[in-house]
Point group: C2
Chain length 168, copies 2
DNA sequence: CAGCGTCAGTTTCTTTTGGGAACTCACTGG
DNA sequence: CCAGTGAGTTCCCAAAAGAAACTGACGCTG
């Protein structure tokens, strides 16, 4: 299949997909995030093939979103745990969960989160870091950022110009 | 490869992955979200095979996150646009973008968003809908929600119990 | 102390998918 | 009237995923 790597692409979404861009990786990460930390437990929970799980855990460790922590030697056995980078990535899972809760379960969420700061069940919403108000797509328009590469993304540049014109 | 469908799974993340669980769909959705709305433009921008793009657009339309809007008949030509459900799904893309901005571009984001309400470049953060404070994984613990299925997810149930004990 | 179970992987074999590139149709603009 | 555009479709081949069995080093139990 000669899977295309997005490593060179000038797009943050593409780079993130280099880490979680397949059917299993996000679920593996979800399991680790809720405390299912061992190979066999993840495999039993998800039912994916052991081969694929091995590969996925390897790339997660390579990307430093997960660390292997030995909990015994001889034979070596490991816990998989999220790193700081992994915690940031888990925000993506949280967004996926919110979407699934709303559109696949009609609000009857299988798993909820209790916010330790206020001790209440929380449904995180995206808020503007400038004004504090909630942001939803449609409330904001895309612009070229400091890392935009005009050469690499001519089609994107064109689309951004059109939007800029429409909102001027 | 006999790809497993997650349609039956009792997990919001899995259900969301039924829609965007592969390498290309999120990028297709990103293009549509920033206004690249036609088949050829998306194909040129992403460089994916036309066959795969056709399939991805079909499943996006089936899941009702995208609509085909004819902009001419004879020959029929279409714009692809996000639905309301698609806008909700785009929140996942926004989360991916934030992760990529931070960890792959060191803050030099290729694309930024201007919040129309306050007219400033915004980096949305997740806030608790109860107390308004920012939420990050680690600031919250997972619990059984109203839609949790003990039979379907015994391994998850066990992990949740362990966490509950650890935080009691 | 023999044998079964656990854990973390490998290995082999088959089925499916994705990529590439060429082909199709129905216009449209010069 | 001839090239170009837009939206697909078709074909072949290589690479991934799935299933299921195998490995190896314990540790527990009768």
């Amino acid at each position: 299949m000669q899977r295309s790597s997005f490593g060179e692409q000038s797009c943050s979404v593409a780079r993130t997909l280099d880490v979680i861009g397949d059917r299993w990786t996000p679920l593996v990460l979800r399991d680790i995030a809720i405390g299912i930390s061992r190979f066999d437990a993840i495999q039993r929970d998800l039912g994916l093939s052991r081969k694929v799980l091995t590969q996925r855990l390897e790339t997660l460790v390579e990307h430093e979103v997960v660390v292997r922590v030995a909990y015994q030697d001889n034979p070596p056995r490991y816990d998989y745990r999220l790193t700081e980078k992994g915690n940031d990535l888990a925000m993506v899972l949280l967004a996926m969960q919110q979407f699934g809760d709303k559109w696949a379960f009609g609000g009857q969420a299988p798993i909820t989160w209790k916010h330790l700061a206020c001790d209440q069940v929380t449904a995180p919403v995206a808020c503007c870091d400038q004004c504090g108000e909630q942001v939803r797509p449609g409330d904001a328009i895309p612009l070229r950022g400091p890392g935009f590469d005009e050469q690499a993304s001519p089609v994107v540049g064109e689309a951004l110009d059109q939007i800029a014109v429409a909102f001027s």
